[in-house]
Amino acid sequence: MDPECSQLLPALCAVLADPRQPVADDTCLEKLLDWFKTIADAGSSLLLLQENPCLVTLLCPVLKPQDLSPRVLAFLLRLAGILAAQEDCFQHLQQGDLLPRLFGEAGPLGGAAWTAPTVRSGWIQGLCSLTQHPSALCFLAHSGAVDTIFSLQGDSSLFVASAAGQLLVHILGLSMQAPAEGHPSLQPAHWPACAQKIVGHIEESLRATATPQVTQALNVLTTMFSHCHDPWTQVLWVHLSPLVACLLEKDPVPAAHSLVDLLLSVARSPVLSSSSCGLWDTLAQTLSRLRASQAGPLALGILKLQECPKALRAQAFAVLLQPLTCVLEATTQAPGLPGSVGGTADAPLTAGMLLPSKAACVGLLCQTLAHLELLQPLPQRPSPWPWAPLLSAAVTILRLCNGSATPTSDTGTHLCAFLAGCVRVQRAALDFLGTLSQGTGPQELVTQVFAILLEYLTSPDSSPTVLKKAFQATLQWLQSSPKPSGGGDLEPHAQLFLRELLPVLPKRLCSPCWDVRDSGLEFLTQTVRRWGGQAGFRHALLASEVPELTEQLLRDPESYVRASAVAAMGQLSSRGLHIIPASPGHPGAQQSLLEELLHILSTDSEGFPRRAVMQVFTQWLRDSHADVAADTEHFVARVLRVASQDLDWEVRAQGLELALVFLEQTLGQPSSSCPYAMTPPAAAPPSLVAQALQPFCRVQLFDFAFRALFDCDRPVAQKSCDLLLFLRAKTASYSDQQGSSSGPDVASLEAALQRWQAGDQGQPLGDLEPEAVVAVLRSLDLEGLRGALAESSDHAEQSPLSLLQDMLATAGILGENEADCY
């Protein structure tokens, strides 16, 4: 601990121990604990106590817990735990009889303070910290703390209850390590007393009739098998698995969710995943015993396992697919359709699960769709993946939701009634349909997919969120549709689809809901980016009202929509799809898009449209857009001038991005993957570099970049720093040969920069000479600046000293504000 902190510590301890003082907020106490933990981890806690006796004094008031606020009391318990984690310090505190008084019967335990969940939580966390050595185990055994922990498992506060479970796992793990004599005994009867006690408690809980107790036991075991992979855990599982299996015989199975978690954590444990434990049988049995909504997560977990018997995987997959099978059967003429999803044996059972209530049906379907969506991208997903039936199921669900499906059974009729208009299922099914685009399906199914998507995109009943999902799924399907062999870019039916869709898009762009307009524009941007070069698409787009409407949306009242319109217009214009209509009524009234976007950049009151404009401009510069290429320097100069005045840091940062593109283009960066890579000095002949820097001076890029270097927003400063470093690297050879790091220009520039750094950015730099810039670049400590910027912004404020000062200042101890108070 540094001396300044040591000096402040006694005062702080006094504040904390004084019940009349206002208690510092929780964050400060947390930070203080973090700090003590760092100190304890780095050195001896005993030494810390000896050097700072105030800490021991601080721990003493706990003996009268009623005087302390629960927060401070919890803090002290946790502090004691941290300190006592080292055995010598533990002994030291034990000698002072402090620990039993803190954590034993004499402490807050059972007193009035105990009613505060914070105190109970602090007590557990303190014990958790100190339980690091055998002496601690003895202490626990003698103090009777373990029984208290057992009871805290059922605490009314979830945090306390969960922490109690974790503490039990921690104690069990430590006590099993203690013998440290190779493989532990196969007989739990020979395990250490403490371990036996805990295992006994778990066994008792597993046999209990009350579900909460079973849940507690299962949760403890889950935590243990997830975190501890020592060989003895296998012994424990062998010992306990019959009890777990007994749970499966009850009807309904108690604590099913926790049971699933436990079985999966056991299955994932590297020590246990052998068939000898009978685990696979238990899993198979559980799959068949649980209700569909409970079995789903288990099935997903099993399928995600790296190693697992084939039969079990097949069973799990069938369980996962059950609801979809049921949906398919309810809407198909023939029962047991060919190529159906998974097995059909359990379908009637699931139909029973799907039908009791709308909520259950919707919940189960959404869960199933989400599970399959998670599973699909994994390498261990079942193979072959049933693309076609899944597609068919997704389409059917969407049809049931919009009422266009024809049910063929009572189940189907019920499903139809439950799902009609259900937005939740629609969203889940569209998401899933989108992910299915990565696979292949028979042509007629793909046609059905496009048909249902078009129905959703056209229907006035699609809610804005459903519409957004429909647009996303559509894009995914369009992107994945294979390219036809004879050239062209889009498969004929996808092309046909786009043509049918384009008349719908104008309606969406005119929607009174801003989010519909927004998702319509996003979709447009993406499609134009992808197919803007494709003749058929271009033709259809130009024939529609879409480009004109998009232009109109640049003046939308909603800023998100304006931003999306900017992006869409940028893309349309890049692709030559933005045609200024020759309106006879207003000759010449149509200003160019560039002007319009610049107008938005300089006048729009919201950040989003301005950011979008900067992105469009950067892209245009990259692509050498015609409007930009006509006079690039003029363009860059205008944009940078406006961007530098912007109050939104993202706009300024994007300005730097644009400047970087300009730099690269001017200096002829040969599309290097790393823009900041050092180039060999020989690469840039001096005269060329001087010439090359001229345009940057003309567009006042340096003015912008230096200003950004001292920007109050760190990302801007960082970006500028990177940009200048890149520039310096490029001009290294030039400055080497010129060697003129002084001169009137340089001096005034440096002076101006110093003023800027001090916060006075009023004065512009004026016209700069390349030489002066290069010299300043060399003299600036850009690397140092970059290092400083890389530190988190609050590194100065986070020091322990400032923490102590802050806490004391809050308490009014530092004195400077005392006079002001009255």
Partner: protein, 604 residues
């Protein structure tokens, strides 16, 4: 308790409830879909309509060609449009004691009932219902009377001839009872029979039952009704809405514990969600106007139009439509827009609070102030000088058979730039458009019906838990076009009883109790005896006095002075009989014993 069903139209009901000793007519809806069989009445001479070819039978017989005209394969009656009245023969309508009106759309047949059936009772309705109902009637009469038509076709109605006609004329029901529109005089006379009521006001009918209107959330002043006696409660739900639009929200709680709930007036378009339709309406309107086309919105002068104007008020600026004129043409346009602003107490909370600011509750006031919305009584006069295109015109009648809308259909129908947007759900838009075919104009169908849908109904029924539900037969099965949609029907336990036109329903419900008052002096004389804990009994000798459906037990008249021993003896003879009968007061009567007792007392 019986229900006489006089109308088959589920949203334009007309039922008569016989309950205790009262005869109550529930609503008085006028089915105007019959007008779809007639040719439109053009305000301005239309060469196209007047030159339509006459229709002749397959064998070339053209005796009907004066009455029937053919247009694009459809046959129309060339005559003054006629309406299909509620049944008048099922029950003697002069016996109806009161008519309860639930909203202004459901009172359009009132003049036919009050003026031509010998009706002498009272009509109950809320003030906005009466005022706006009057506007609707006034508009209807005006639309029809201002285009006098000499011809009144009746030949085609002959049953033998009707059979030979093509559909839908062939299948039209009860054509002989179709009637021409009433006159303004009849309207005034009918409306004069209305007594105004307020929500939750209790109205005693002959002391027998009490009726109470409740807010139904559908339209200004729209109500559901509770008809109850001391021990029975019948709820009549008609045209209700749970959506947040302009009217006061629906009062659901008061419908609880009904013995019978008569459920009518659900949404006519159960698959369309009003929000989505409003979106569709706005985007189609914007697209048309942007392209230089005109938009025609056939509508009623009150109701959804207020909400549409409010949506447009918020939408036009964002869609860049601020320069587009909106015209509202109706003989009652001005009154409708102004009435809407003065019925503050009947509006939803949000709009009510505006009144205290003070601000007009509906934003159409601002649209009018800024000249974005202009209203005219007719397309003659000022309108023709102000008229500027492209524009949006709201005008009636939604059937497209009369009113200014006919002119705009003729005017704009030929250009594909224009759009007609149907927002009123009462008429099939395809049938409405039939006499205008071939039509180049775009047609958009955005029916906005805010009335309850089946999901809301099932929630409502779960909440109010009526013992029995009675509804039109259309609600007990899925719509014919979507027979698999089991969600589009009423699902309740026990299953709803259904009715159809001209049916009499005996409601499954027996009256078991009647409230009787005991006069205080009689009550004083009672001496209850506790027969088991908590239950005491006392014998009562009294005279039951019944007047105005109120029953009162009064002390018996003092027995006349005993005249002779014989009478006293008989009196003492009676005593043992009484003692035998005493315990039977609360049980069933042993008939034989009773008869014997009667026989023993020959002078009674």
């Amino acid at each position: 308790m019986k229900l006489y069903c006089l109308s088959g139209h589920p949203t334009l009901p007309c039922n008569v409830l016989k309950f205790k000793s009262t005869t109550i007519m529930l609503d008085c809806g006028l089915d105007m879909t019959s007008t779809l069989n007639f040719l439109p009445l053009p305000l301005v001479q239309s060469p196209r309509l007047s030159n339509l070819p006459g229709w002749s039978l397959k064998d070339g017989n053209a005796f009907l060609d004066k009455e029937l005209k053919e247009c694009s394969g459809h046959v129309f009656v060339d005559s003054v449009p006629e309406f299909c009245l509620p049944e008048t023969e099922l029950i003697d309508l002069s016996t109806v004691d009161v008519i309860l009106i639930s909203n202004y759309h459901c009172m359009m047949a009132l003049p036919y009932i009050t003026e031509h059936t010998g009706f002498t009772g009272t009509v109950y309705a809320t003030e906005p219902t009466v005022q706006i109902g009057r506007l609707l009637m006034e508009e209807l009469v005006n639309f029809i009377e201002r285009v006098p038509k000499a011809q009144s076709a009746s030949l085609w109605k002959n049953k033998d001839i009707q059979r030979l006609l093509p559909s839908p004329l062939k299948d039209a029901v009860e054509v002989s009872t179709w009637r021409r529109c009433y006159t303004m005089q009849e309207v005034n006379s009918a409306l004069s029979k209305i007594q105004l009521v307020g929500y939750s006001q209790k109205i005693e009918l002959f002391g027998a039952v009490q009726v109470t209107p409740l807010s139904s959330g559908y339209a200004l002043g729209s109500s559901n009704w509770i008809i109850q006696s001391h021990y029975e409660k019948v709820s009549y739900v008609s045209g209700s809405s749970l959506l947040t639009t302009h009217p006061q929200p629906m009062d659901q709680a008061s419908l609880k514990n009904s013995d019978v709930l008569v459920l009518t007036g659900l949404t006519q378009i159960p698959t369309a969600n009003p929000d989505g339709m409003v979106g569709e309406f706005c985007s189609n309107l914007a697209l048309t106007v942007r392209n230089g086309g005109n938009v025609l919105v056939p509508c009623y002068p009150s109701g959804v139009i207020y909400d549409l104007l409010e949506c447009l008020y918020q939408y036009i600026d964002s869609a860049g439509l601020s320069n587009i004129p909106f015209y509202f043409i109706s003989p009652v346009a001005n009154s409708s827009l102004e009435f809407s602003q003065i019925f503050a107490e009947w509006l939803c909370h949000n709009k009510q609070t505006k009144v205290y600011l003070p601000e007009p509750p509906f934003p159409h006031a601002e649209l009018i102030q800024t000249n974005k919305l202009k209203h005219y009584p007719s397309l003659h006069g000022d309108f023709s000088s102000d008229f500027r295109q492209p524009c949006v015109v709201f005008t009636g009648h939604p059937s497209l058979r009369f009113g200014d809308v006919v002119h705009f259909m003729e005017l704009w129908g030929k250009s594909s730039l224009n759009t007609v947007i149907f927002t009123e759900p009462d008429f099939s838009y395809l049938e409405a458009l039939a006499p205008y075919q071939p039509l180049a104009m775009k047609c958009i169908y955005c029916p906005i019906d805010t009335r309850l849908n089946f999901i809301q109904v099932s929630k409502l029924l779960k909440e109010v838990q009526p013992l029995h539900v009675v509804c039109p037969e259309q609600y007990t099965q899925p719509p014919p076009a979507q027979s698999h949609r089991m969600d589009l029907m009423i699902d309740c336990q026990p299953p709803a009883m259904s009715y159809r036109r001209a049916e009499v329903l005996a409601l499954p419900f027996k009256r078991r109790y009647e409230k009787i008052e005991i006069m205080p002096e009689l009550a004083d004389s009672l001496v209850p005896m506790e027969i088991k804990p908590g239950i005491s009994l006392a014998t009562v000798s009294a005279v039951l006095h019944t007047k105005d459906n109120k029953h009162v037990l009064q002390p018996p008249p003092r027995p006349a002075q005993p005249a002779g021993g014989k009478k006293r003896k008989r009196g003492s003879d009676d005593i043992p009989d009484c003692k035998v009968l005493k315990p039977l007061l609360s049980g069933s009567i042993p008939v034989e014993q009773f008869v014997q007792a009667l026989e023993k007392a020959p002078d009674h």
